[in-house]
């Protein structure tokens, strides 16, 4: 019984914690411009993140080695350093976007300009990372993120033309060019498979001291929680497709992105969705900030983690603090957080193979995994995704330049 509660709680946390500012922005923008015609990319992304999160969770449970350890160990110091540079840069960019997102949610709730909210959000986030226990932290914000389920209720209340939505699945709109279509496909994939998610997931496994016995929990989180989060992403896109697409409106702010919920459910729904957005972005603020500490520490072999007292992991906590400060400064330059998000999604997509390649290799290495090496199915999927991610990585930046970032 106790085990069941733990598994359920884990699933709900993964579900609520799945959506972050990247998923929110990418799905709302794509829904309004392309309807449901890019839904398949979300599905591909969800399967991909499930495959690699499962591998990295399994490695963490069996060998206690988190993802960036593997990157350094299998890719070597040079390629590892390139990966570290890219991941760290993307991480700080994403962190800035999440802080901005949380501040924007507070602006929607209070009417006070978001820039006033940025410093307090950053300060509170840092305090949480400094003092609050890992599992408490993860649970509270994961569960609060479940408030975003209100998008599903809103979609149902909006009463969309389901037939029309289904037709869109296979028919991209005629007035958008192919490069723009592909560019947004890459952004969606970057949103679903962001590298920080596996850094955080596997390091979290080590923080929570997973062993082989926790493999069930890890797999339940991944195979149930993540797909549920994916359904939420699709619902956000469907809401945008229902409300914005017919009138050619294209949301470019957080306020506009939650408009469908206000239309469908009124003030109460609006309150819940703002809470959900805040929880999701604030939770992701913690995840990205910790991930920057995780990746740097794991590359250099420093003691990391919240499972030891802050005074016992000085370099780790200094890294986390420094990234929060840099990200806050970036947002305070009044750069648009939504734009930052869009760019960080595409850069994420470009960096994906660097992170996932060593995971796939180690998941096959019996020195690490013993009998728990990948099966044929995992390997077939993993190899397929490696090819796909390589193509995506090569295409991402050229497409971004060619389409002027999707304009």
């Amino acid at each position: 019984m106790k085990r069941l509660v733990a598994v359920t709680l884990g699933i709900l946390t993964a579900f609520g914690g799945f959506v972050d500012i990247g998923d929110l922005v990418a799905n709302a923008v794509v829904g309004s411009r392309f309807g449901m015609s890019l839904a398949w990319v979300v599905v591909v992304g969800i399967i991909g993140i499930c495959v690699f999160a499962e591998m990295s969770g399994r490695i963490a449970a069996v060998s206690q080695r988190p993802v960036f350890d593997l990157v350094r160990e299998r890719m070597g110091p040079r390629a590892g350093l390139v990966n570290l540079g890219a991941s760290f840069f993307i991480n700080v960019l994403t962190l800035a976007a999440e802080i901005g997102g949380a501040a924007l949610a507070l602006e929607l709730a209070t009417g006070l300009d978001y820039l006033l909210w940025v410093p307090p959000v950053a300060l509170v986030a840092w305090l949480v990372m400094w003092r609050v226990k890992f599992d408490t932290m993860e649970r509270v914000f994961g569960l609060a993120g479940l408030a975003l389920v209100v998008f599903i209720v809103a979609l149902w209340r909006l009463g969309p033309d389901w037939g029309e939505l289904t037709t869109q699945l296979t028919r991209p709109p005629q007035d958008e060019g192919v490069p723009t279509y592909l560019y947004y496909a890459i952004a969606l994939l970057g949103g679903a498979m962001t590298p920080y998610e596996v850094f955080f997931f596997s390091s979290g496994g080590v923080e929570e001291k997973w062993t082989r016995r926790d493999l069930v929990t890890a797999r339940a989180n991944v195979f149930v929680g993540f797909p549920l989060g994916g359904v939420l992403s699709l619902t956000i896109a469907a809401c945008a497709a229902t409300v914005f697409m017919p009138v050619e409106a294209e949301p470019d702010s957080l306020g506009q992105m939650v408009l469908p919920v206000a239309e469908g459910l009124g003030k109460a729904g609006l309150g819940v969705v703002i809470l959900g957005v805040f929880a999701a972005t604030f939770g992701a603020t913690l995840e990205t900030a910790l991930s920057s500490g995780y990746s740097l520490s794991q590359y250099f072999g420093w003691q990391w983690g919240k499972y030891v007292a802050p005074g016992r992991a000085a370099r780790f906590h200094v890294t986390v603090l420094a990234s929060v400060i840099v990200a806050t400064a970036l947002i305070l330059t009044t750069i648009d957080p939504i734009k930052v998000t869009e760019y960080s999604l595409v850069f994420s997509a470009a960096a994906l193979p660097l992170t996932y390649l060593p995971v796939l290799m180690i998941a096959n290495d019996p020195d690490y995994m013993g009998a728990k090496v990948n099966g044929r199915f995992s390997n077939a999927l993993g190899s397929f995704y490696m090819v796909l991610l390589l193509v995506v990585a090569l295409a991402a930046i050229p497409l971004m330049l060619a389409t002027k970032a999707g304009q």
Binding site: Q64, G311, D365, S383
Partner: protein, 260 residues
């Protein structure tokens, strides 16, 4: 002691792995490089870590920056890397575990005292390890920049007896049959080199037996990129001068890795 001596590939099984302190599972550092005692039968004497060990392996501008930055903050004349005797190693697995009361690296100690310790609510600062007297002494005299390192062997060009290029050093084979260290266990002797015909890049473990060539697509790709991989015993190597490796026998007479 009838079981065969343990064989490791230095780059695959040792380099870049996490070093963990046995007594309390504290993460200490990475195996940034390995120190070798030269001679007829060279063997690994210590794990090296920190910027002076990682910098040379990185090479190029980043490596130089790392080494020089470290030098700026050290008061020794010729600062050496953080060093852990191989005799302290208790286990080599997904991490390398070491016994004893190894102290943290200088940066961690400095940040604990001067940054983290000053933030309110920093628990755990007072638990910082007391400076280890024995270690201090060692840090001063253990400054031997000229001792060879495994990292310096990897990537070298290999030439045959006639001076023709035969390939590149891809990895170093270590066999645990060297002299006794601190009367506890035997040292890892450098037993030979794995030489890739075409590229100096990493083998990612795909040089091992066919049972480990998974996922098959990746295994095939890596092996194709490297061309044939052969194994040169230590006594088949004539010299290690001029940053190259000169073989005493022709490429064709080297053992193929398939028989390993």
């Amino acid at each position: 002691m009838s079981e065969p001596a343990r064989v490791l590939h230095a780059r695959l099984h040792l380099l870049d792995r996490q070093v963990v302190r046995e007594s309390d599972d504290r993460l200490l550092c990475k195996v940034d490089d390995l120190e070798v005692r030269p001679g007829d039968r060279p063997y690994v004497t210590a794990i090296l870590s920190g910027p002076p060990a990682l910098g040379p392996r990185l090479g190029g501008l980043p490596g130089w920056l790392m080494t020089e930055t470290d030098r700026l903050f050290r008061d020794e004349e010729r600062p050496g890397p953080y060093r852990i005797e191989m005799s302290m190693v208790t286990e080599i697995g997904s991490a390398v575990r070491v016994a004893g009361r190894r102290q943290d690296l200088a940066l961690e100690r400095w940040l604990t005292g001067n940054v983290v310790g000053r933030i309110p609510g920093a628990a755990g600062v007072e638990e910082q390890d007391a400076p280890d007297r024995a270690l201090r002494v060692r840090e001063r005299w253990e400054d031997r920049p000229d001792t060879p390192r495994i990292g310096g062997l990897i990537g070298r060009t290999v030439r045959g007896p006639a001076g023709e290029v035969a390939g590149n050093v891809a990895d170093v084979c270590l066999v645990q049959d060297g002299p006794l260290l601190a009367e506890v266990h035997q040292a890892f002797r450098t037993a030979g080199l794995l030489i890739a015909r075409r590229r100096a890049g990493r083998l990612f473990g795909y040089e091992r037996g066919p049972g480990l060539w998974r996922p098959s697509l990746l295994g095939a790709l890596v092996r194709r990129m490297h061309g044939e991989i052969r194994y040169a015993e230590w006594d088949q190597i004539e010299s290690l001068d001029d940053g190259e490796v000169r073989l005493g026998v022709a490429w064709d007479r080297l053992r193929s890795t398939a028989d390993l």
